[in-house]
């Protein structure tokens, strides 16, 4: 018995010894994970932070959510059948609770801000950076912070502003409401720092440089009514070709050539990689990625050409993958004089050709007319004008003239077949179904500087100078031989004309909503020119609703109310 008890005690003792040694095993071992304190404290690691700070631009540029928030709800676009954010296109029941695009952009802009603020607080502690490296990377972060805050403040107004980042693991559940002026104060501070400290050039196409910061600064000056500064900065970038090397391409059409994306007119572009694995599509390795990835712009504006005449015209790579999301308003089409202005034919596709030879009814409006088509024959034609019915019926192909798409009031009667923006089409995609395009998104191109200079000079009371800048663009845009017809005089210049010119030059380039807002023309022009949205738009809609997820999550709700007018 005594012996047994000893044995039991032995067991217990052995057990407790094992127990104590096991206790050490309760320290977590995490060889896969990365944390900020380990990663961002060396030059090599900090570089990854700076790179990451750029990635958030991809959530807006080239993405459906970004297009819907920057081009839709304006005078120039309305919704096609496939639009998934009609509330942004038409302001119909636009709320923070029903529009996922708002939350996606909000969260990612602020994630970028948080990362940048973390980086700016940390960068002085990186031991193996030289001072030059430090000021360069710091300047990049300052630029990006200004860039992201501009999107935030213009989209939502005076919302949360901070230059600090809480430590990882510390939970921040409050937000502040900061006046718009304070945002711009910070934006200009950051841009000043960036302009001063950024290198003039870079071998990393897509990384920001001092001229890029200047160009964005010009846009900001214009936005804030600092017209003299805007004019001076824009003019500087236009005129000093020797320094900056920015030149307008001779032909507007060449801007959209996939083989010519990195060209002298581009000041800054979001560089989507031709190796799609470098882009942002959600994947097992990048679970918080974008559901569609890369540039989606090539799909969104296309009519469903493959439903016009399926046996003869099928979906293919050159014609693109038609998502049927957006269609031009009649007003946008009316802005173009297609006889003089090459930008109409360079921006829009109006003819679709047979890509599958066969015999059949080619004219949907005259099904008895059976004829034989070979590859290259016209199958569908869309026109910005009203055509004679007998003429249209005489054709072997189907015509959608303006009357077959819009009624007299300009409301689309058919949202499937229409003149389609082709600027972003990408025939280098590997297959017709490929949703990812490697097309770079032009954030700032030199043409915008001409328009900034024109608008600033007009605001400064110099319409002739403004006309000069506009005429440069219009001359470049003119169909050869029609240059004279494209010229305008200072007397013709007014704010609406400048906005018209911006639409002709920049439609689809994710600037329209900001342009209308800056010029205080949003309500006016939408009401006049976009009948779909006119019935819904209200005065308060110069800011978007704050995403409901933000409103729900903040704990200081009384200090962080929804934007006025939204619920």
């Amino acid at each position: 018995m005594q012996n047994s008890i000893n044995k039991v005690m032995g067991w217990v003792l052995a057990g407790s010894l094992v127990f104590t040694s096991c206790n050490k095993k309760l320290t977590e071992y995490n060889p896969t994970g990365m944390t900020a304190d380990v990663t961002y404290t060396t030059a090599k690691g900090f570089e990854t932070l700076v790179n990451a700070a750029y990635t958030y631009t991809r959530w807006w540029y080239g993405k459906e959510e970004g297009y819907s928030l920057s081009e839709m709800g304006t005078d120039i676009w309305t919704n096609g059948t496939g639009d998934v954010f009609p509330q942004l296109s038409r302001y119909d029941n636009l709320q923070g609770s029903n529009t996922s695009a708002l939350g996606m952009e909000w969260d990612n802009f602020y994630a970028a801000i948080y990362l940048i603020n973390t980086g700016l607080a940390q960068i002085d502690n990186v031991p193996d950076y030289t001072d030059k490296q430090k000021s360069q990377r710091s300047a990049e972060l300052h630029f990006l912070r200004a860039f992201y805050y501009w999107h935030i403040v213009e989209t939502w107004g005076g919302v949360h502003l901070t230059t600090e980042a809480t430590a990882p693991g510390v939970i921040e559940s409050t937000a502040n409401r900061t006046p718009v002026e304070d945002f711009y104060k910070l934006i200009f501070q950051d841009l000043d720092y960036a302009v001063k400290n950024l290198a003039a050039t870079t071998s990393d196409y897509g990384r920001v440089t001092s001229p890029i910061a200047k160009a964005f600064q010009a846009r900001m000056y214009l936005t804030r009514g600092m017209n003299a500064e805007a004019a001076a900065t824009a003019t500087d970038l236009i005129n000093n070709v020797d320094i900056y090397k920015y030149k307008l391409l001779p032909k507007f059409a060449d801007l959209w050539n996939m083989g010519n994306l990195k060209n002298s007119e581009v000041i800054w572009a979001i560089d989507y990689s031709t190796n799609l694995a470098n882009n942002d599509l959600v994947s097992a390795a990048y679970p918080s990625g974008h559901p569609r990835g890369s540039n989606s712009g090539h799909m969104l504006f296309l009519q469903v050409y493959d439903q016009v005449n399926k046996p003869l015209l099928v979906r293919d790579v050159p014609n693109g993958r038609p998502f049927n999301r957006y269609m031009p308003t009649k007003a946008l089409l009316d802005l173009f004089n297609e006889n003089d202005d090459s930008r109409y034919q360079s921006s829009f596709q109006t003819a679709w050709l047979c890509n599958k030879a066969g015999t059949g009814a080619g004219n949907n409006f005259k099904p008895t007319d059976i004829s034989t088509f070979k590859v290259g024959d016209t199958i569908c034609y869309t026109s910005k004008n009203t055509l004679d019915t007998t003429v249209m019926n005489a054709k072997h192909y189907t015509t959608y003239d303006i009357s077959r798409v819009y009624n007299a009031a300009g409301i689309p009667t058919n949202r499937q077949f229409y003149v389609s923006l082709k600027k972003f089409k990408d025939s280098t995609r590997a297959s017709a179904g490929e949703a990812q395009s490697a097309r770079d998104v032009f954030v700032i191109r030199l043409a915008e500087m001409y328009l900034v200079a024109a608008e600033a000079n007009f605001n400064l009371g110099k319409p002739d100078v403004a006309a000069g800048f506009l005429n440069t663009l219009r001359t470049r845009a003119a169909i050869p031989g029609h240059e004279a017809a494209m010229q305008i005089t200072g007397a013709q210049v007014n704010l609406d004309f400048i906005l018209d010119e911006r639409a002709r030059e920049l439609c689809g380039e994710q600037l329209r909503w900001f342009d209308l807002k800056r010029t205080n023309k949003l309500i006016d022009r939408v009401t006049r020119l976009n009948p779909d949205a006119a019935q819904y738009i209200k005065d308060f809609q110069t800011v978007r609703p704050i995403p409901q997820s933000q409103i729900d999550a903040v704990t200081n709700k009384s200090e962080f109310p929804q934007n006025q007018g939204y619920k």
Binding site: N79, A111, Y114, N275, A285, D306
Partner: protein, 1089 residues
């Protein structure tokens, strides 16, 4: 004077007579008068082959001696040959008895008492008997052991056994599924016995955490199922077989895909972020992959529901614990079982989309609303090149081309054998299920070896091990979604019989393209090992020390090849090949000390446990696209030129625990259980690392009270009450740290490393979810247990709920896991078993389970609903929040419709409230949405009937799940612009003012159609005849000719009849039309040698 001899056969009577005999003998000693006697008398005995009894009679004749002996003494009948002259009585008897076990003793007055020798070999006798079940059916293979010895035998085919034993021996009869029974041999040579089925018996041993207990001594809420019950329904996994059989356990199967598992919850959903799956313990080792277990290997399954039973599992116990115990070998005859079945899988209800003409009409009506179609004259314009097909009424039912009959088959052999010291059980099983889709199959091989070896008397070692290997190809490609939306007047085949890639030249890939050989491969090979070894030392009868080392190891390889014509790759470029490898290794070391002792009326049973669990998962994948030779799949990733990607990951955690349990019983009537467990986990930071989980339970066996002795209604009555706290170890490893994520990026096409913050912030303060459960239960049996029942009421409240708390995006993070929020589940569970008829040839018994659980969230972050997360205080976890559809706006109401911004033909929803808490003539998401339903049922009911008549047995099992809502993919599939095909529904037109579906409109998509989601909510209540099995057991007289002990043949119809409000759909599938559920018609054989 006569000598006393008794010759009564009945053992009971003979015992009584023995007492009488002795009393009489004592009287005789004093009263009998013997005239003359003396040793001097001489005898001559000359006999050849004569019975001793006869010789004794002759001696009595020759002398004055009188013999006293028991006539039943077998030796007295022994025949001897003897040749003696002139011997005295002693010499005569010595000689006579020398060849026997008989002894003699002289008493007063010339009386000689004859007895058998006490020496064992001298008193052994042959005992035979027949063992039957309560119905009188012979049980073959019953182990008969002499208690305390290694001597054992088993019953033969007629249930008959023979064993040599002594009067003082105790025979122990054991048989799987029946109560062990002990009988003292005494005078008997014939012992006939009817064993009682274990399920209803109080003496039945129930497995609980780290130990066993007699059912009568249970204080917690534990349901025990025997192996026979587990395998009654042919199913790939054990949990599917017991669906509806355990009150409080909700088991649903939501996919009919091959090898798909089931969802199991015990007493509702407590957790929101975390899983609500119970903890599975297989032979003492935690093992979540219950689908690996061969149902024929199961000895018993115990479900631990209340906190007093589960708290011994501490941080892992809150979701209930399911303990599976596998079969062991037994001493005696080798028993071989063969089980096999084959069945055909067919889809249960599956709704049919619109056919060609119906779809064409939808398209017309949509165009009509948009103003581009007025009459058939506009058909040409509308349908263009499709006009001919429309006019011809062409229609293809695409899902029908994909859905085929599947099959299910199982082949298993098991062997149980052993000697007294070594016991072995081993088995092999092959299960294969073919799903309804081409190339959808799951094959499972299971091997098991269980050994118990006694080394020396008090020291025992053993091993239980299971190896499972799967070869599976799962179709998880939503092919039926495409088949249901492809436009039906497009034909899938070209004139030459080949497949058209895009039927009608439209944008849908032909779903039949995936059926081509090699187009879609999703092959997984998984091997999992569950192995544990134990050593057990019992230094004295009251103390047991046991140490168990368990290893569960799993490795899997998933090879995926998606050809360029598959649904997924159709919207990308080229084929995709990917291989994913994962290995998982758990190491579990547990030491258990058990000590029990009785002190008079007090019984004490103490268990102490130390436990260490380590868990590691390594995984990696590699992938590429655009393979040159498709057949190479993932086996030659280097031949994929594009999008090469690699990834690897490690996750590990450790858990260290100490636990104890004290069971105390007073007079066996008043029972108390106290348990506690301390868990320390690596996934929590130091401050919260250790947690303690206490519980206590009491039970009162009212039936054992004196005042219950005189009644004969109750045969059992016990009241139980318990309270305890258990955790849900649901914090994922590394949740306390804020991680970085790698974001793909490049400058100038040169890839760059970019690490940004994970959108999910880390939380350093995380701790376990805690669930406190109180449970009150009543167990009773009526009319000699013809009716037995358990009724439990419980109330479990979960606090410190792990919630994915949304953070304001402005903070830089969008979410964090936090211990906030509370849930509550309370309800009532009833289990009832009745024996309705019990006659010689016919028995009918029933089992009813009823569960009613009220689940709701009681607190969330800041005490407010999380609309985005779909969480609502007062509603169950899985609730649906939306507008309430009232119908369709009708023409007479157009003015009212317009005031809301709608027009006739639009969906009409209720104006529930407004900013002043009353209807405000506006419809908005803030005030007019409400919880329209929940996936949680109001109650579930199981009703099982077993009838046996002579050689036939019948099981009919009905299962009902009532009150839940599901979202029907089909009902939601209404495309107002007819861009795709959809459900064949009754939609609004000016001529058809229905309230079912809105008006088609070519200019709006489903996404932009107001209130489109309100169409999908459906009442998911159903009653299902889960199982009808008819079996026939071949009479032994016939089967024995083939040396077969038992041969049963059965046919079974599983899930064949479903009664539900939703037509053509099995609502158990929760609305998916990608994975239709199946019904199974199966036939099988059980053979025992």
């Amino acid at each position: 004077m006569k000598s006393f001899r008794t010759g009564i056969k009945s053992p009971l009577l003979s015992n009584a007579l023995l007492v009488m005999k002795i009393t009489t003998f004592l009287l005789l000693v004093f009263v009998l008068q013997v005239s003359a006697w003396g040793f001097g008398q001489r005898l001559n005995l000359r006999y050849k082959n004569a019975e001793i009894a006869g010789i004794l009679v002759n001696i009595e004749k020759q002398t004055n001696y009188r013999f006293l002996y028991n006539n039943q003494l077998s030796a007295i009948r022994q025949k001897v040959t003897i040749n003696l002259e002139n011997v005295d009585i002693r010499q005569a008897l010595d000689n006579l008895f020398s060849q026997t076990i008989l002894t003699y003793k002289f008493m007063a007055n010339g009386l000689i008492v004859i007895n058998e020798n006490a020496a064992p070999q001298a008193t052994e006798k042959k005992v035979t008997g027949k063992i039957t079940d309560p119905n009188g059916t012979p049980l073959s293979g019953v182990t008969v052991t002499i208690k305390g010895t290694s001597k054992a035998t088993t019953t033969n085919e007629q249930g008959v056994f023979t064993i040599t034993a002594e009067d003082n021996d105790v025979l122990v009869f054991t048989y799987v599924g029946f109560d062990p029974q002990e009988i003292k041999v005494g005078d008997n040579t014939q012992i006939n016995l009817s064993l009682t089925s274990a399920a209803s018996s109080l003496e039945n041993i129930v497995v609980i955490g780290y130990g066993t207990l007699k059912k009568r001594d249970l204080t917690g809420s534990v349901v025990s199922l025997k192996g026979d019950e587990v395998k009654k329904i042919a199913a790939g996994n054990v949990m599917e077989s017991v669906q509806g059989k355990v009150a409080g356990v909700d088991i649903t199967r939501t996919s009919g895909g091959a090898g798909s598992s089931v969802n199991v919850t015990v007493r509702g959903n407590r957790s929101i972020l975390a899983q609500n799956t119970p903890l599975f313990i297989v032979d003492g080792i935690q093992y979540p992959n219950f689908q690996d277990i061969n149902p024929n290997d199961i000895q018993s399954m115990e479900v631990l529901k209340d906190a007093s039973s589960t708290a011994i599992y501490g941080s892992r116990g809150a979701n209930g614990v399911i303990i599976i115990t596998t079969k062991r070998g037994a001493a005696g005859k080798v028993r071989v079982g063969v089980n096999t079945y084959y069945g055909v899988n067919k889809k249960t209800g599956y709704p049919v989309p619109m056919n060609g003409p119906q779809y064409a009409e939808l398209k017309r009506q949509g165009a009509r609303t948009a103003g581009t179609w007025n009459s058939s004259a506009d058909d040409a314009k509308l349908f263009g090149a499709d006009l001919q097909a429309v006019q011809d009424g062409v229609s293809t039912y695409y899902p029908g081309l994909l859905l085929k009959d599947g099959s299910q088959q199982d082949y298993g052999v098991n062997v149980a054998s052993g000697s007294e010291k070594t016991k072995v059980f081993f088995s092999f099983d092959y299960f294969k299920e073919k799903g309804l889709l081409n190339n959808d199959y799951s094959g499972r091989y299971t091997l098991r070896l269980n050994i118990d070896q006694t080394v020396i008397g008090t020291f025992k070692v053993g091993l239980q091990s299971q190896l499972t290997y799967y070869n599976e190809n799962r179709r998880t490609d939503n092919v039926l979604t495409v088949a249901n939306k492809i436009i039906p007047y497009y034909v899938p085949y070209a004139a030459d019989g080949s497949l058209v890639r895009q039927p009608g030249g439209a944008n849908q890939i032909n779903p039949l393209m995936e059926e081509l050989p090699g187009a879609y491969i999703n092959n997984t090979n998984t091997t999992r090992i569950l192995s544990s070894a134990y050593a057990e030392w019992k230094p004295f009868s009251s103390l047991t020390l046991r140490s168990t080392l368990g290893i569960t190891n799993g490795s899997s390889r998933n090879g995926l090849f998606l050809g360029e014509n598959t649904i997924t790759r159709f919207t990308a470029t080229g084929s995709l090949a990917k291989v994913t490898n994962a290995t998982q290794a758990d190491l579990i070391w547990e030491n258990i000390i058990t000590w029990n002792k009785k002190f008079g009326d007090h019984a004490l049973d103490v268990t102490a446990v130390t436990s260490y669990i380590s868990n590691k998962v390594d995984s990696s994948y590699a992938q590429g696209t655009g393979q040159i030779i498709p057949g190479q799949g993932w086996k030659a990733l280097l031949n994929n030129p594009l999008n090469l990607g690699i990834w690897s990951n490690y996750i590990g955690s450790n858990l260290l625990s100490g636990a104890f349990r004290v069971n105390y019983g007073y007079k066996g009537k008043y029972l108390l259980t106290v348990t506690g467990r301390a868990d320390g986990s690596s996934v929590l930071l130091k401050e919260n690392r250790w947690s303690f989980f206490p519980s206590a339970a009491v039970a009162w066996r009212i039936i054992d009270e004196d005042f219950m002795k005189d009644q004969n209604v109750f045969s059992d009555l016990k009241l139980r009450a318990s309270y305890g706290v258990a955790g849900n170890a649901a914090v994922k490893p590394y949740s306390t740290t804020t991680g970085l994520i790698l974001i793909p990026y490049s400058f100038n096409d040169i890839s760059m490393l970019a690490y940004g913050f994970d959108p999910q912030n880390g939380n350093r303060n995380l701790k376990w979810e805690l669930t406190g459960t109180q449970n009150i239960g009543l167990d009773f049996g009526l009319f000699k247990n013809r009716i037995t029942a358990s009724v439990d009421y419980y109330d479990s409240r979960t606090r410190d709920l792990l919630l994915l708390r949304p953070l304001p995006g402005s903070s830089g993070h969008t979410r964090v896991v936090e211990n906030v929020g509370k849930t509550r589940n309370n309800g009532i569970e009833v289990s009832l078993r009745t024996v309705n008829v019990q006659t010689k040839h016919l028995t009918w018994s029933s089992a009813v389970t009823y569960t009613r659980n009220k689940e709701r969230i009681t607190d969330l972050v800041n005490g407010i609903n999380d609309v985005a997360g779909g969480l609502f205080i007062g509603s169950p976890v899985k609730s649906f929040y939306d507008f309430k559809k009232e119908g369709i706006w009708q023409t007479p109401d157009s003015a009212l419709a317009k005031s809301f911004g709608y027009k006739p033909g639009d969906i009409r929803v209720a104006d529930l409230s407004g900013d002043k808490c009353q209807p405000d003539d506006k419809l908005d998401a803030t005030y007019d949405r409400t919880v329209v339903g929940s996936a949680v049922p109001n109650y579930t009911l199981g009703f099982s009937n077993d009838v046996s008549y002579r050689n036939f047995d019948l099981n009919v099992y009905v299962f009902a799940r009532v009150g839940q809502t599901f979202v029907s993919d089909y009902a939601n599939k209404f495309e107002p612009n007819a861009i795709e095909n959809g459900a064949n529904v009754n939609y609004w037109t000016p001529e058809n003012p229905t309230n079912d579906y809105p008006r088609p409109n070519a200019n709006i998509s489903r996404a932009s159609m107001p209130f489109a989601t309100t169409l999908g909510y459906k009442d998911g209540s159903f009653v299902k005849i889960r199982n009808i099995t008819l079996g026939y057991t071949l009479p032994k007289t016939i089967s024995q000719k083939f040396h077969v002990n038992n041969l049963r043949w059965y046919v079974s119809a599983k899930n064949y009849f479903t009664f539900a409000k939703q037509k053509d759909y099995d609502p158990e599938g929760e609305g998916s039309f990608d994975r239709p559920l199946t019904k199974l018609l199966v036939t099988g054989l059980n053979i025992e040698f």
